[in-house]
């Protein structure tokens, strides 16, 4: 189980002939992901790691019946690639590419209105359903099977968290990296809703950071909609000065909004425990599971 993808999901890699994409196609295949096609205009007929390449997403879908794609296309062309995948009627598009102009993403979001496709990212590490499939760049060896859903705005913190959970004997259903950009396809509430409806997921770990108010909105949503699944959290950027962009385009405190203190306060306010340092994410989850009486059930590895 898990959410969004499983071992049967047929996946296209957009930009498959690029260096990073080729490397990660190999990794995704090794994990067991059903990569059925690649897309690079002008490269139809070639193969990458045994995967046939097509000129367009439409051709790839018609030939293979794929329902999902992962985008590694360079930033200045990536927005167009997402729209191509949406146009081809895919259920899911995961965009790894970083540095896509924000106003390009505004157009993408407008284009997606009324269409069925779900977008994850951009500027994200992708998603990984344990022992089934991975779309993106999350290392496969640090996440064990279990009952905690993981959703994060940061790539490396996703790995760090999965690793700490593994060391604490806590397994994960699906890890979703939603990405560090201000305008993106899927936010915390969307991911939480997926976990809410997944019977395998018994609890959620949410990793946020400064900038915007998505964590505050999620806190409110959890209180109103998901009282039965405990949530633990971590927020990075407590020491970030206002007005300075901390790496991610979305990680900036501006107009007095988006501070770590605000987010921690909002989460604590609805009974969510927030790890005091990045080193205590695993412990905080264990603590939350114990308080909810589901630690034994979630101690799966």
């Amino acid at each position: 189980m898990g959410v969004l993808v499983n071992k049967d999901t047929k996946v296209i890699v957009q930009g498959i002939t690029g260096k990073q994409a080729t490397f990660h196609t190999k990794q995704m295949l090794a994990y067991g992901t059903k990569i059925v096609a690649g897309v690079t205009p002008g490269k139809a007929g070639q193969e990458v790691e045994g995967v046939p390449v097509f000129n367009t997403v439409k051709d790839a879908v018609e030939a293979t019946g794929a329902t999902a794609s992962v985008v590694y296309v360079p930033a200045r062309f990536a927005a167009d690639s997402i729209m191509e995948a949406v146009d081809a009627g895919l259920d899911l598009v995961v965009c790894i590419t970083e540095h896509i102009p924000v106003q390009d993403m505004v157009k993408v979001r407008r284009y997606m209105e009324g269409k069925k496709t779900r977008l994850i990212g951009p500027n994200c590490p992708g998603i990984l359903t344990t022992d089934e499939a991975k779309l993106g760049i999350i290392p496969g060896n640090i996440q064990k099977k279990g009952h905690v859903g993981l959703v994060s705005r940061s790539g490396t913190l996703t790995y760090e968290a999965a690793f700490q959970l593994m060391n604490a004997g806590i397994g994960v259903t699906t890890a979703i990296g939603i990405g560090g950009d201000p305008v993106k396809g899927t936010d915390f509430i969307d991911a939480l809703e997926l976990f809410k409806n997944d019977p395998e997921t018994k609890a959620v770990l949410m990793i946020g950071e400064i900038g915007g108010t998505a964590e505050e909105d999620a806190a409110k949503w959890i209180k109103e909609n998901m009282p039965d699944k405990p949530v633990a959290a971590f927020i990075s950027g407590r020491q970030a000065p206002p007005g300075k962009r901390m790496g991610h385009a979305g990680a900036i405190i501006s107009g007095g909004k988006g501070t770590a203190a605000d987010k921690i306060k909002a989460l604590n306010g609805v009974g969510i425990e927030v790890a005091d340092t990045v080193a205590h994410i695993g412990e905080t989850v264990v603590d939350t599971l114990k308080k909810a009486g589901i630690y034994d059930e979630c101690h799966t590895c």
Binding site: Q20, R76, H99, I100, P101, V102, Q103, M105, V106, K107, R109, R110, P125, I137, I138, P139, I142, S152, R153, S154, G155, T156, L157, Y159, E160, F163, G180, P182, V183, I207, E209, I210, G212, T213, A214, D217, F234, S236, G237, R238, Q239, A240, P241, G243, K244, R245, M246, G247, H248, A249, G250, A251, G255, G256, A260, D276, T277, V278, A279, H280
Partner: protein
């Protein structure tokens, strides 16, 4: 990326936004010369720095004659202005804007930003102009009006008109106000801005609507399609270390303390700054070395952290995903070769925590080429505590 007010006004003017007549000046002579050219009874001498709050800090002066222009220009050029946005160290004034004085009847606020939740450009306006919008938002939220813009349609005329009436622009100035809004939106989209803020927007005694101040910020990810904007970059406004890091493809923010860190990934880098502070250290920087660290890049990162004697200790915190631990370890060895005379030491304690891809190879590299001052940390928590302890002991 930020630019100066006079540059923002030039960009906006090219889109048809009404701005006061003005000319930049880099010297006192130029200031007087430009005031003569403008020739209005009152000219404004405005310090050009990348920070708001200049008026309150004494960076904006009204001059009634050329002697006053001369004396204000002499006073401001070279002066360090401390505003609520510059930090206590302030910013040195190297440029002035000499501008025609305006006959202000009332001040308003107008801006465009991108709203994360709706994924739309939003126009915000208020009749409470000339004060910080955060203050208005906190004290009189009902005085802020918003219009969410469909990117396919652009700013619809009815939206601009509604905004103009909502913020109580006087009837004779309505058309001029809506034109300014439309032009400002076109500039925002045309140049990939992340912020376009006019504070104050003014209606003059003659019922003209002009942008008395202008602040544009640009999306760094879109600069590739705006070489004209990239050219406006004033490097003297940027932290020299941040500039050097950007040139090396490193994501670095100077935080002023003495416990440095080098991390992969923005989220983990922020969290590492936080954990240094948690254990009582003063973070020197945020530094994300990114996903493809060559040894040369790591070595450059070390030199930037150590430059000027700022870092008294360095915490290397790597979780190898795309980034391989062996490449980072090789980078540390490379840094020691470049930085020290004997090629086998670093000038300050360096605590290294490696985890993830190729961690064993990474640890082996550091064991095989021992560098004086490099300490391996078994855990992140232990590493953070260790570096803070060592920096404190050295003081």
């Amino acid at each position: 990326m930020n630019i100066h007010e006079y540059q923002s006004k030039a960009v906006l003017k090219s889109y048809g936004v009404a701005v006061p007549e003005g000319l930049p000046a880099f010297t006192v002579e130029e200031a007087v010369e430009n005031a003569k050219k403008i020739g209005t009874p009152v000219v404004v001498v405005k310090a050009q720095i990348h920070a708001g709050g200049r008026g309150k800090a004494g960076g904006v002066k009204l001059a009634k004659n050329l002697d006053e222009v001369k004396s204000y220009a002499s006073e401001l050029l070279g002066k360090t202005l401390v505003t609520h946005q510059t930090g206590p160290e302030g910013k040195k004034v190297g440029r002035l804007l000499i501008e025609a004085g305006s006959n202000i009847k009332k001040e308003y606020y107008l801006s465009f930003v991108i709203d994360r939740q709706t994924a739309r450009v939003v126009m915000m306006g208020s009749e409470e102009g000339g004060i910080e919008i955060e203050k208005v938002a906190a004290e009189m939220p009902e005085k802020i009006f918003k219009e969410y813009i469909d990117p396919v349609i652009g700013l619809a005329p009815f939206q601009a008109t509604r905004m103009a009436y909502n913020i109580n622009i006087p009837q004779p100035a309505i058309r001029k106000a809506t034109k300014l809004m439309t032009c400002l939106y076109n500039a925002f989209v045309g140049k990939d801005c992340s912020l376009a803020e006019i504070n104050p927007l003014v209606v003059t005694a003659e019922d003209d609507v002009i942008a008395l101040d202008a602040k544009l910020n640009f999306d760094d990810s879109a600069l590739f399609r705006h070489p004209d904007i990239e050219e406006l970059r004033d490097k003297s406004e940027e932290d020299p270390k941040e500039r050097r890091a950007a040139e090396a493809g490193l994501n670095y923010v100077n935080l002023g303390g003495d416990v440095a860190c080098m991390v992969n990934g923005a989220g983990l880098a922020m969290a590492t700054v936080d954990i240094i502070k948690h254990y009582g250290g003063e973070p020197a920087n945020f530094l994300d070395v990114g996903g493809d660290s060559s040894p040369e890049k790591i070595a450059e990162a070390f030199q930037i952290m150590l430059d000027g004697g700022q870092a008294k200790g360095i915490f290397v915190n790597i979780f190898g995903g795309i980034n391989r631990c062996d490449a980072v370890a090789a980078g540390i060895v490379e840094a020691a070769k470049i930085i020290s005379d004997d090629g086998k030491s670093l000038p300050v304690p360096v605590v290294v925590r490696l985890e993830g891809t190729n961690v064993e190879q990474g640890r082996k590299i550091l064991q095989d080429s021992p560098i004086a001052n490099v300490i391996m940390a078994p855990t992140m928590e232990g590493g953070a505590e260790e570096i803070v302890k060592r920096v404190k002991a050295a003081q």
